[in-house]
Symmetry: C2
Subunit: 359 residues, 2 copies
Amino acid sequence: MSLEKFLNQAVSSWMNEDGPFSEIVLSTRIRLARNHNQYAFPTVFTKEEAEQTAQAVSAAVKETGYPLEELKMKDLQGLEKRVLVEKHLISPNLAEDTSSSSVWLSDDEDISLMVNEEDHIRIQCLFPGLQLKEALRRALEIDDALEEHFDYAFDENFGYLTTCPTNVGTGLRASVMMHLPGLMMTHQMNRIIPAIGQFGLVARGIYGEGSEALGNIFQISNQTTLGKSEEDITEDLLHVVDQIIAQEKSAREALVKSSGIQLEDRVFRSYGTLRYSRVLESKEAAKCLSDVRLGIDLGFIENVSRSILNELMIFTQPGFLQQYAGGFLRPVERDIRRASLIRERLEMDVSKDKGGSDI
Amino acid sequence: MSLEKFLNQAVSSWMNEDGPFSEIVLSTRIRLARNHNQYAFPTVFTKEEAEQTAQAVSAAVKETGYPLEELKMKDLQGLEKRVLVEKHLISPNLAEDTSSSSVWLSDDEDISLMVNEEDHIRIQCLFPGLQLKEALRRALEIDDALEEHFDYAFDENFGYLTTCPTNVGTGLRASVMMHLPGLMMTHQMNRIIPAIGQFGLVARGIYGEGSEALGNIFQISNQTTLGKSEEDITEDLLHVVDQIIAQEKSAREALVKSSGIQLEDRVFRSYGTLRYSRVLESKEAAKCLSDVRLGIDLGFIENVSRSILNELMIFTQPGFLQQYAGGFLRPVERDIRRASLIRERLEMDVSKDKGGSDI
């Protein structure tokens, strides 16, 4: 398969569409955790109960009329599941489960509904750019529609009941994926990360808890799910995100002013590495992609699409590389494949721009 | 002035013509030191004697009919002299002298005749590739022609007399500029340099004694000028150079076999740096130019001309950069200018190849 076709099939709408503030906010995610009030929760249920739950969810989803398609974990190959994890459509936990768990996906992958992960249902909406309110509205719409056909575990005092107490209440996790090279280069993240903790928020790397902030990408999300409404939680997150956006913008302006040519040099060297290297580890790829994306945002680079960072941060993960290669790859083979995939992808942009490739 | 025009004017024939074994030997130089038997030698002569010598040389050169043009040191700006040094047409010593010293140059700069440097006359022939015999023949031709009109200091026992005793006898320095990335990468030069010393030869960096082997370029030349004929000296040098060529070739083959993709990666990363960096120090430029030239020799890179190493090693020296800029540049400005000159130069090749530039 040609790379262009492969990518066209693989890309989710949140990756390649520009959203509000997309020069800094890559994407917005809303997740709601829900459980049925009659079945045992996933950590303790039997195989039979798991199957009953899955069937109840299936029936409810179909009743809602949402055009979602189910992928059952037991029907998927390891590599296929890995790709879904890398696209943030399922969690690593769900991928490990082989019994009655599944994911329901919309065609352009902005909606994903995990079944029998830590909770019976996890509704997720993924939007490009900063769209907390829009994503919340959509998630609550789906939530309401499901609730008509699925009896949620709900407590008058606590709110929605969940397996993990940290999700009790709203069951909401709102998170925003931010590209913060300016704050990283000016060494401000070490100050910001503890500061946002005071607002009940947390900053994580691109693949969640414990993962590194590869490519200067941070997920900022709420920790607190209890005692505030969904609207207040997203409002508070939005407030902090707005401030971080402003700080990132001033950091970038300061960098351009204080070391314009050095910054341009860094950006273009990274572009050179992406366009020509033959062996590329994921960490270096992420660093270079971040630089190039910054270069696009600052107007240094013109003929590369902005979605390059979102797309390639995901498509150069081990799962995707192996799916594109059509089988297992050793780490060094992945580094070679990663380099060639990135070269080809950039070549697509250059060719579009000039009607011809140059090497 | 456009870069293309500037380079066309600046390039010497030995830089951009392919000579024998030019995948490893960049150029060949023959230098003969000669003095007049009646005037005091340059280290001790008076201003008047210096002037007399200069006039005697001038008269002799004109008698020979060689179409050489004289550039008097006292008429040149510092920057112009620096450029001549960088092109190996005059020595740094001559450039420092402002009295009666000069250089006579042929149109394509394959012949240069320094007057009143350490010796009254230094005849130099510069040829592309490995052409020791050809360059020696040409130098001796000029030498013979001059001798008819200029009375050489010659001793029956010692041969030609020179200011420095290390040049007495033949007054000959034969040297070959070799590009030896394979031997450097396989750490063999530390063994080879002392070994060739046993043959009365010495290996130096690109700008002579004490200079670093920037860009993996070594000048191999004879130390001994006495007790052997000119032909034997060049023959012995040729013999050693042939062996080094063979060793460099096997080193390259071994590298391709043992680490083909890593080598290709190194070559292309360097190409990326040269094509896109905005600030480039001379040391890194030399390293990258060496890598790219190796990549051309190994067939990894196809649309860049082989002369890129010879040309750009010289045109990215401080003198040239400042001449092209039209005035003095601070070191950081030179690094910026160096990067942009190299980018433009590579762009010329790419454009020729594809009829359009890509960034």
